[in-house]
């Protein structure tokens, strides 16, 4: 008889940090025993040694029960996911218009995208791009039939990319259907092209239809598919979790080399859960070589007095050492960068943002792991502007990725069923309503009654306000909003009751505009942001 292991190890080897979690089965179910993270490059075995020593010191009986012995740690079963650095895709097209379309599709993938068209680059520059060692793949596509702005240069581009593919046998190429059959392509590649034939794949032509975009996105994601990739595994876990909890779940993740937004809903009885996800390299906390747009995007969320150059310096150092400077002002800078990344992710995923507010929003990523819970809730409220009520939770042990590497959904679900209570830390709930008070001076717009544990507390609602209400972690409650005029809270209404749940940050009521409107003048903007962040950050140790 094969005996089930008493402990297993989950490793999330991220691009910035490595997290190790120890799961044990002291009785008849798995539990999260502990977790530890360190900068990327630190050996997961060293982290496990320290973690196991802490468990043995803190609870020797538990360590014995899960058979945690110093010499046996290497032999423990492991669930491991990893984050590979983002690879670069050169998007080549015959016109600015076609390149812009292709770039917008490729931006919704984990590829880092560099574009070039015959209107912006000469053939030598485009050849240079395709031959660059850091470019892993080239995407060349056009309309079918080609548009009037494309026809003149399609043969040139087919020849250019064919020559690059011939010179670089490792280069992956995605070709639109209008290109593959061109003589220039066939002649440039030659009769016996080097490298694997699988590296050259067909993609759909550029078209106005959504199916073409999704088809091309699917092809591009297929080129970098990795069963151990943390972000791909995250999607699997979220789908299983939605099915298990019978709730609609959204995950937003910001990492070193990209970000993810995934929405999963439980399936009907007998059916699989559904999930939609977008992973984008533009969702990175700080993209490599941050340009002025990135710097300005972060500056827009800061309350400090850094100028553009100094902010650029700080962001470059944050990119180089994403694990460092996580306390004090560094924590605020990190969260400003995370807000900017969340805003970029939200802008790239309008179809997910248009869905009703999920029952549960999970915030994932090392940049959120160490800041106060209220600051995380506020960051989500600032950037994911969608009316409704949602509970927010975090995955501090970073288990979502490793669990997603379990291929069998039944096995994955069984493990999740055991540790669902340990997996997520409740941050709080968010109620977001809009349309209250056309002017700022309208004052009181209604009240909120929070019923919890047999008692009811009342809160006067003021137009445009942002308020944290106390609600203990895990405490279920009903929030009833009675409004003087019709507002939007998921739907247009004057009275609505929503179920909420407490968390470390309590309940955040947000009646600000959608989209969030901030003053253009920098000093006023900072003043507004300071007032909001004062609600979320401890004032005694700035």
């Amino acid at each position: 008889m094969i005996r089930a292991p008493g402990a297993l190890v989950a490793v999330d080897a991220g691009a910035a940090t490595t997290a190790v979690a120890l799961l044990g089965r002291p009785g008849d179910r798995w539990r999260l025993v502990g977790s530890l993270a360190a900068p990327a490059g630190v050996d997961a075995g060293d982290l496990l040694d320290v973690l196991a020593a802490r468990v043995r010191a803190a609870d020797p009986a538990l360590a014995d029960a899960i058979e945690l012995r110093p010499g046996d740690l290497d032999g423990l079963p492991r669930l491991e996911c990893r984050s590979a650095p983002a690879r670069t895709l050169a998007v080549i097209g015959a016109s600015r218009r076609s390149v812009a379309i292709l770039e917008s599709i490729a931006a919704r993938t984990a590829w880092r995208v560099v574009g070039a068209s015959t209107e912006t680059h000469d053939p030598r520059e485009m050849s240079e791009l395709a031959l660059r060692a850091d470019v892993s793949a080239v995407l060349l596509s056009a309309g079918d039939p080609p548009g009037p702005d494309e026809r003149a240069s399609l043969d040139d581009l087919a020849g250019l990319v064919g020559a690059a593919a011939r010179r670089r046998p490792e280069l992956q190429v995605v070709l639109g259907s209008a290109i593959r059959r061109r003589r220039a392509w066939i002649e440039a590649l030659g009769a016996d092209p080097p490298g694997s034939p699988d590296r050259i794949v067909d993609g759909p032509a550029i078209g106005p239809r959504r199916q073409a975009s999704e088809g091309l996105r699917s092809v591009l994601e297929g080129l970098i598919a990795d069963p151990l990739d943390g972000r791909q595994a995250l999607r699997s876990t979220v789908a299983s979790l939605a099915d298990l909890l019978d709730r609609r779940i959204e995950v937003v993740e910001v990492g070193h080399d990209g970000g993810t937004r995934a929405v999963a809903a439980p399936g009907a009885p007998g059916e699989e859960p559904t999930a939609s996800a977008v992973t984008t390299a533009r969702g990175a906390l700080v993209p490599p070589e941050p340009d002025d747009a990135i710097v300005d995007g972060v500056l827009a969320w800061t309350t400090g007095s850094l100028d553009r150059h100094r902010m650029g310096d700080r962001l470059r150092d944050l990119r180089a050492g994403p694990w460092s400077d996580a306390a004090g002002e560094g924590a605020r800078l990190r969260l400003a960068a995370a807000r900017a990344a969340l805003a970029r992710i939200a802008a790239l995923t309008p179809e997910l943002g248009a869905l009703p507010a999920p029952d549960l929003t999970i915030v994932s990523g090392g940049c959120f792991a160490v800041v106060p819970a209220a600051a995380v809730v506020l960051a989500v409220a600032d950037t994911m502007r969608r009316t409704g009520a949602t509970q927010l939770a975090a995955d501090p042990a970073r288990l979502l990725g490793p669990i997603g590497t379990i291929e069998d959904p039944i096995e994955r679900r069984a493990l999740l069923a055991d540790i669902a209570g340990d997996l997520l830390v409740p941050l709080g709930s968010l109620i977001l309503a809009t349309g209250l008070g056309a002017r700022r001076d309208v004052g009181k717009v209604g009240h909120l009654a929070l019923e919890h544990d047999g008692s009811t507390t009342y809160h006067e609602l003021v137009a445009g306000e942002l308020a944290f209400l106390d609600l203990a972690p895990g405490a279920p409650a009903t929030a009833t909003l009675e409004l003087r005029e019709t507002a939007r809270l998921g739907r247009r209404t004057r009275r609505v009751s929503v179920a909420v749940s407490g968390g470390i940050a309590g309940l955040l009521v947000d009646l600000r505009d959608i989209p969030l409107r901030l003053p253009d003048r920098r000093d006023r903007r900072r003043s507004v942001l300071s007032a909001w962040s004062a609600l979320a950050w401890p004032v005694d140790d700035r």
Partner: protein
């Protein structure tokens, strides 16, 4: 040899080992390690289409030997292409047929890019400049239009990034590790040298260094503003008729000002007066003397990368466990003793050690 030993949770790191043995507290492996010196060196020099490689795979080159002719004004031209079908391969060099008339504006030679409509596009230009080997080595790869790789048994100090380059020269230390060099401190005595300038250098000093013939700068940090100035100056130099001599800046740490780490400074001081080179890929300072004995870093020395103690160095005193830091942030921390003072808890992520 020191024994690495785990410190029991909650133990006071200042308490000496009970058995009196020389022991280092454990947990140091959870601190990010930085290699001070790497070797051997596999450097890659970028080429662009139209550049002409002058070396072949496996060839031995000495310092200063020409590796390639680089185009300073690259452009695309359309030509009939080679008459010989065997030579009509992208990446091959194309030379104009000798029968052409003298004074023709058409290019004399270039690199075949691709064929379209029966004619070839080539990468070519009128002005070339040599790419010289900044250190001796063996050519490990030549990819026309893309890169030349050079391998050397030499060792190198890794940095964060290199601007411009490559360049070579003798190393001179003109500032302490936490110093800052200003323009008046750069003089013609530095011509042909690579200068170690400490923690920071301003844009004016960089301009002056370039003007007096300095070949390179090694600095701990370089801000975005100075970085932009250097890159703009490099572009102007490329566009000028006569170009500029090789020049490179090696940034060891990042953008925010820090002193040079002590173990790195010790190696730089040891190498001072000897020939070195700055290359961009990997970003490093190549020490062109494989036999030179270099000081090894002390294993328990750690440096603070960020926060109020940024740049400070101390001795590792063991893991401190989760600690609350300013901003309401709870982080895994380690104890560090600075200059013999009682140990302080510093976030693990803010520390680096040296190997």
């Amino acid at each position: 040899m020191s024994v690495i030993r785990d410190l029991p949770p909650g133990a006071d790191p200042d308490v000496a080992a009970a058995d009196g043995s020389v022991a280092l507290p454990g947990g140091l492996s959870l601190v990010a390690a930085r290699r001070v010196v790497i070797g051997p060196v596999d450097a890659t020099f970028a080429l662009r289409p139209g550049d002409r490689a002058l070396v072949a795979h496996g060839e031995a080159v000495v310092r200063g030997a020409p590796l390639a002719d680089r185009l300073r004004d690259p452009r695309t031209e359309v030509v009939a292409g080679p008459l010989d079908a065997e030579a009509a391969i992208p990446g091959r060099e194309w030379t104009a047929p000798p029968s052409r008339r003298h004074g023709d504006a058409a290019p004399e030679r270039g690199e075949l890019l691709f064929q379209s409509g029966g004619r070839w596009r080539i990468g070519t230009g009128d002005q070339r400049e040599p790419l010289e080997a900044p250190f001796a080595g063996i050519v490990r790869e030549v990819r026309p239009g893309s890169a030349i790789g050079l391998r050397s048994p030499a060792r190198a100090i890794l940095g964060r990034e290199v601007l411009a380059g490559p360049a070579s020269g003798r190393l001179e230390v003109i500032a302490p590790r936490d110093g800052e060099v200003r323009a008046p401190e750069i003089n013609v005595g530095g011509a042909g040298a690579i200068l170690v300038v400490g923690a920071h250098i301003d844009a004016e000093a960089i301009t002056r260094a370039r003007a007096v013939g300095v070949r390179g700068i090694v600095v701990a940090s370089l801000g975005v503003k100075e970085r932009r100035d250097v890159l703009a100056s490099e572009r102007r130099g490329q566009a000028a008729v006569h170009g500029l001599p090789p020049f490179a800046i090696l940034v060891l740490d990042g953008a925010v000002r820090h002193p040079i780490a002590t173990p790195v400074m010790a190696v730089l001081e040891r190498v001072a007066g000897h020939p070195v080179a700055i290359v961009a890929d990997p970003p490093c300072l190549v020490i062109d003397d494989p036999g030179m004995e270099l000081p090894a870093p002390e294993p328990d020395l750690v440096r603070v990368l960020a926060g109020p103690l940024a740049g400070a160095e101390g001795r590792w005193a063991g893991l401190a466990g989760p600690h609350r830091f300013p901003g309401g942030v709870v982080l895994e921390a380690g104890y560090v003793r600075f200059a013999g003072r009682p140990a302080l808890a510093v976030p693990l992520g803010d520390l680096e050690r040296f190997t």
